[in-house]
């Protein structure tokens, strides 16, 4: 299969801060590849290097058959980029933004008109097309942003956290669009913080942490490496923590924070069972949190450290 994006030994540091530390990637044409990682992992930096915005310190990067260092214009002619932060001209209307892109791709007038109206329709922006982009909602901006990326009909598309900040419905809409693109033969390089998104869309997922790829594979392969969820209990004193730890044999106690981590999926049954056992022993639980498997677990499993705390506090 054709290689759309090939990366070997990619390194980048800002000052003393090593952001990408030897990244290797291979993305076959016509597939969706997802780079998964927490804040500060280096996702945006990777996208910026791949899309010729910044240069790498070392490493070989080819996109659509062109070397980003030797032939950036060749790369630029083949790619479309929707960055993490909105890249629309807020002083122009949605339609003018699309036309601006068409003019910069030096398309004929009728073709610009045709593509602009098709895209407005496709992204549900027909009514808003004549309004200034500064009046758009976050979701509309995101859609316009992607529409602008598509004006040039790129063969390789970079999407940096395309659904961050979207409501669930818009997110699903975005996913549909991305799936359509790939069905049309386009290659998509997507970054996300959401395992579910990578799971839904990506043919292959790479997990980026502190500038290194710590795992790569299909969603199913990755999930096999993730343990289930857990329940975390907090107590008011060490004595109760110790007693509870003795009753719940598979739990791990943390003396400093007075918490006990019990593996479990957090279902109602499992919780009731857990609380009943503590009640029988007359142990007072100060707080209880249920933790379902998410990116944090992937990280914990793959790197031995956590990312962000996204736990749902119950009491």
């Amino acid at each position: 299969m054709n290689t759309a994006i090939g990366v070997t030994g990619l390194r980048k540091k800002f000052g003393d801060h090593v952001v990408l530390d030897g990244v290797d990637l291979h993305v076959p044409a016509g597939t969706i590849f997802s780079l998964l990682g927490p804040n500060g992992a280096g996702k945006t930096t990777a996208v910026q290097i791949l899309s010729t915005l910044i240069t790498a310190d070392s490493g070989q990067v080819t996109v659509a058959g062109h070397d980003v260092a030797a032939d950036p214009d060749g790369v630029r002619a083949a790619i479309g980029v929707t960055g993490q932060f909105s890249a629309v001209d807020k002083l122009l209307t949605g339609e003018e933004n699309l036309r601006l892109m068409g003019e910069l791709y030096r398309l004929p007038k009728q073709e610009i008109t045709r593509r602009a109206s098709t895209l407005l329709e496709r992204f549900d922006l027909v009514a808003a097309g004549g309004k200034l982009a500064s009046t758009y909602s976050g979701g509309m901006l995101r859609r316009l942003d992607l529409a602008m990326t598509l004006v040039g009909e790129p063969r390789v598309i970079f999407l940096d956290e395309p659904t961050t900040g979207l409501d669930p419905r818009s997110r699903r809409g975005m996913w549909e669009v991305i799936k359509d693109l790939v069905a049309g033969g386009v290659t998509v390089f997507l970054t996300t913080q959401y395992l579910e998104e990578a799971d839904q869309l990506a043919d292959r997922i790479a997990v980026l942490d502190h500038g290194r790829i710590v795992a790569e594979g299909t969603a199913a392969e990755l999930k096999r490496r993730i343990p289930g969820g857990h329940v975390r209990l907090r107590f008011t004193n060490v004595r109760e923590l110790d007693t509870a730890a003795r009753i719940l044999a598979n739990a791990t106690a943390d003396q400093d924070s007075l918490t006990l981590t019990v593996p479990g999926d957090g279902s109602r049954r499992a919780l009731k069972d857990l609380l009943d056992r503590l009640d029988d022993a007359a142990i007072e639980v100060d707080a209880l949190t249920v933790h379902t498997p998410d990116l944090d677990d992937v990280f914990f499993a793959l790197t031995g450290h956590t990312t962000i705390d996204q736990e749902a506090t119950l009491s």
Partner: protein, 307 residues
């Protein structure tokens, strides 16, 4: 070719912005007109007392309009710097940089837009001046030369403003950095009052060579061929200053202003190579040389018309 197409596209974008914000656009275009009215009607009486004694038969307005025209050249620079600075922070410019387009077209589009706005503003100023009784003696060729000089000077100043915009981290900073371009530049120059009026003895005033392009000299040069005057304008001013034994000239302006044409192209070349990651000062230094030549030449010529 692609450079031209892209710059034209960016110019259209820029003009659209200008139309979207008519208040800002009109504000910039009208400032010189307001200054003209202010100097003519508010301060005019006080200043023009000296006019009659030093010049034969000329009105204050005939000195004022060319002076205000000079001010017009820099009047858009703050807006330009702010717009460039703001634009660079916008995601859209990052998008442009991932597209197969000429990189400088964003800047050239902005410069072209600013120059057009400044020219509109100048025409307005002259128009209002004419309505107020400004009666220039210059012929069509001289006016063409004036237009050419003003275009060059505006071009140089605008590129400088772009340089300030690129070098500034925030629009506020850009606005402050570009401030001297729009105000301090014309003020020490004799543009706003006839040469004979008041002394021009302030050290700052003495150090600006353009100041000495006073109207008696102007009258002397007025008879010369306009194109020759244009070619020599930058050098002549400095030479004249030297003739008058003003060694301080060297520290006041950049050493040895170049002839206008070459200087303007140096000015335009400078921001092209400027990169956000390094200070623009080294780049703008050469532009300064061009600016001083242009700005020195402009009042001389403006004065020529009045004379």
């Amino acid at each position: 070719m692609t450079t031209l197409t892209d710059s034209a596209t960016m110019l259209r974008r820029n003009l659209r912005h200008a139309i979207r914000y008519p208040s800002l656009t009109f504000g910039v275009a009208l400032v010189p007109v307001i200054m003209l009215l202010m100097f003519a009607y508010l301060f005019g009486n006080a200043i023009s007392i000296g006019v009659a004694s030093t010049t034969e038969g000329a009105d204050y307005i005939d000195f004022l309009v060319p002076g205000i025209l000079l001010m017009t050249l820099g009047s858009g620079s703050q807006t330009t710097a702010v717009q460039i600075c703001g634009d660079m922070a916008e995601g859209i410019v990052a998008r442009f940089r991932t597209m197969p387009i000429t990189r400088t077209s964003v800047l050239t589009g902005q410069v072209a837009g600013s120059v057009i706005l400044t020219m509109v503003s100048s025409v307005l100023t002259v128009g209002v001046g004419l309505a107020m009784g400004f009666r220039p003696t210059a012929g069509p060729v001289e006016w063409l030369a004036v237009l050419g000089l003003m275009l060059l000077a505006t071009f140089a100043i605008t590129w400088l403003a772009v340089g300030f915009g690129l070098a500034s981290k925030a629009p506020e900073g850009a606005s402050n950095a570009a401030m001297p371009l729009s105000f301090f530049l014309p003020l020490p120059v004799h543009g706003l009052r006839p040469a004979g009026v008041a002394a021009g003895r302030h050290p700052l005033v003495r150090r600006v060579p353009a100041v000495h392009a006073d109207h008696r000299d102007a009258a002397r040069v007025a008879g010369r061929r306009a194109d020759r005057a244009q070619r020599l304008a930058g050098r002549r001013v400095v030479r004249r200053a030297r003739d008058r034994r003003l060694p301080v000239v060297e520290e006041a302006v950049q050493p040895r202003p170049e002839p206008v044409g070459r200087a303007a192209s140096a000015a335009s070349a400078a921001p092209r190579s400027s990169d956000r990651s390094r200070p623009a000062y080294s780049d703008t230094a050469s532009a300064y040389a061009g600016l001083s030549a242009c700005s020195a030449a402009a009042p001389t010529f403006a004065a020529d018309i009045a004379g």
